[in-house]
């Protein structure tokens, strides 16, 4: 009997589903075992078809993206209602990810910027008809519904997806690895790391073998969970932290901020120089996890 699955896309870029397609031939083994009951970008089942399904009749549901509008929220709650097992698929769904950095601005200001003030806009107006209402700020999906499994990554790497999907098909609960990224990163690390100069990502060419953090690039490895196979550092690009916080960490941004401050050389870099080198503190350290941080959004004084 085929396994019933549904894929729900909330506010997201479709990148996670793209990553699923990157499984290539593996899909050929997996697809015949699946019956897709809802995946609005791929199969032609409508929302009202899903609404008619009995509760808990779908075996596995995958949610990609976060809730930006009331429609997203409805979809998310519907997915929870219809699925026996709900998987948070990708970083947007698990932690909020990059678009949720909009939590730093009031929604009115953001809408006005996008629809009225943008350089390309002439006589703009904020759309108010036939569109779902925007939510004031982004909360991580887990604050709306309960999940059975979190599969972070921006996007989750195909081998990780394959691992999860195959064990789910076998009826087993996949167990994701939980150490930090540095543990699986192949780069060579010294016992003690001291940074004399902080480099932006585009400055210079990184040495191929040595730890990127040691070379002065802000690599989020120490505060990030493993599981992606350290693809970015292996390719010479510092980790940006898309897998979310490592074990026992509440706030990935605060943890990385703390780590960086303790490895800079005190004689070469003053506190002011450090702040100027990092510039965008929230956007660098909490790039993927702002809505799941201790302070999840900017605090605006009530007028």
């Amino acid at each position: 009997m085929p396994v019933k699955v549904m894929f729900v896309q909330l506010a997201s870029c479709w990148g996670c589903h793209q990553s699923l397609l990157d499984l290539h031939e593996t899909l050929a083994d997996v697809l015949p075992q699946l019956e897709i009951v809802f995946w609005h970008t791929v199969v032609d089942h409508k929302l009202h078809d899903v609404e008619k399904l009995p509760d808990k009749s779908v075996n596995v549901g995958f949610t990609e993206g976060f809730c930006r509008t009331e429609e997203d929220l409805h979809l998310l709650k519907l997915a929870r209602q219809k699925c026996k097992l709900l998987v948070s698929y990708g970083t947007c769904s698990t932690y909020g990810s990059i678009p949720s950095l909009l939590n730093l601005y009031p929604i009115e200001e953001a809408l006005s910027r996008k629809f009225k003030e943008a350089e390309s806009v002439v006589d703009g107006r904020i759309p108010d008809k036939h569109v779902p209402k925007m939510l004031e700020y982004v909360k991580p999906n887990r604050e709306y519904v309960n999940y059975d499994l979190f599969l972070p990554g921006c996007p989750p790497e195909p081998p990780l997806i394959a691992e999860v999907v195959t064990s789910l098909l076998k009826g087993e609960m996949p167990k994701l690895k939980e150490r930090t990224l540095c543990d699986e990163c192949p780069r060579v690390k010294s016992e003690v790391i001291v940074i004399k100069k902080i480099k932006r990502d585009f400055e210079g060419i990184p040495e191929p073998e040595k730890c990127l953090l040691e070379q002065g690039y802000i690599c989020m490895g120490p505060a990030t969970r493993e599981g992606c196979g350290a693809v970015c550092p292996s390719a010479g690009f510092p980790c940006k932290g898309c897998m979310g916080p490592g074990p026992n960490v509440m706030d990935q941004g605060a943890k990385m901020l703390s780590a960086l401050a303790s490895i800079v050389d005190y004689e070469s870099i003053s506190p002011e120089e450090l702040v100027n080198a990092v510039k965008d503190v929230v956007g660098t350290f909490s790039r993927f996890t702002l809505p799941s941080s201790i302070i999840p959004k900017a605090v605006f004084k009530k007028k």
């Binding site: 730093l104 509440m250 706030d251 941004g253 605060a254 943890k255 901020l257 703390s258 960086l260 401050a261 303790s262 800079v264 005190y266 870099i269 506190p271 002011e272 450090l274 702040v275 990092v278 965008d280 503190v281 929230v282 956007g283 350290f285 941080s293 201790i294 302070i295 959004k297 900017a298 605090v299 605006f300 004084k301």
Partner: protein
């Protein structure tokens, strides 16, 4: 509200200098505003930024981190770490639209009871000027 607002301050003091400094103020019978609740940690380098954020999230109006003067740290470099963390944290708070003045870092040695008194008075005045934290849950 503004007239009789008393800020709640979390003090995170290092064991070797600032906590001893607070003891000094106490044993010398110096008077200072009762707004600060002090937690002792072994070193200002132990102050995890998560502690500060959590305190603010729970509604503290201000957080005062105090440690040894440069060169005096019992663990050699803890206060240098604290200094850089607080600098980054202040920028983070600014981006989150929380006044960075709600976070204060001071070096207070074991003999500087008077300095502690002055710091707390100064911080209370700054916070009274700023008003209650926007994250405060109750009055």
């Amino acid at each position: 509200m503004a007239g009789n607002f008393e800020p709640k301050i979390l003090g995170i003091f290092c064991n070797w200098c600032s906590y001893a400094g607070a003891d000094m103020a106490g044993t010398s019978r110096m008077q200072y505003p009762p707004n600060v609740r002090i937690i002792r940690v072994l070193c200002s380098g132990r102050v995890d930024p998560q502690f500060v954020l959590k305190a603010l999230e729970l509604g503290a109006d201000g957080v005062l981190v105090a440690g040894c003067h440069h060169g005096d740290c019992h663990y050699v470099k803890g206060n240098y770490r604290a200094e850089r963390r607080i600098a980054l944290l202040k920028r983070m708070l600014q981006q989150l639209s929380i006044e960075p003045e709600r976070l204060m870092l001071k070096w207070i040695s074991a003999s500087e009871g008077a300095e502690l008194v002055q710091t707390v008075e100064e911080f209370v005045n700054i916070l009274k000027e700023l008003g209650p934290s926007p994250l405060r849950k109750t009055g």
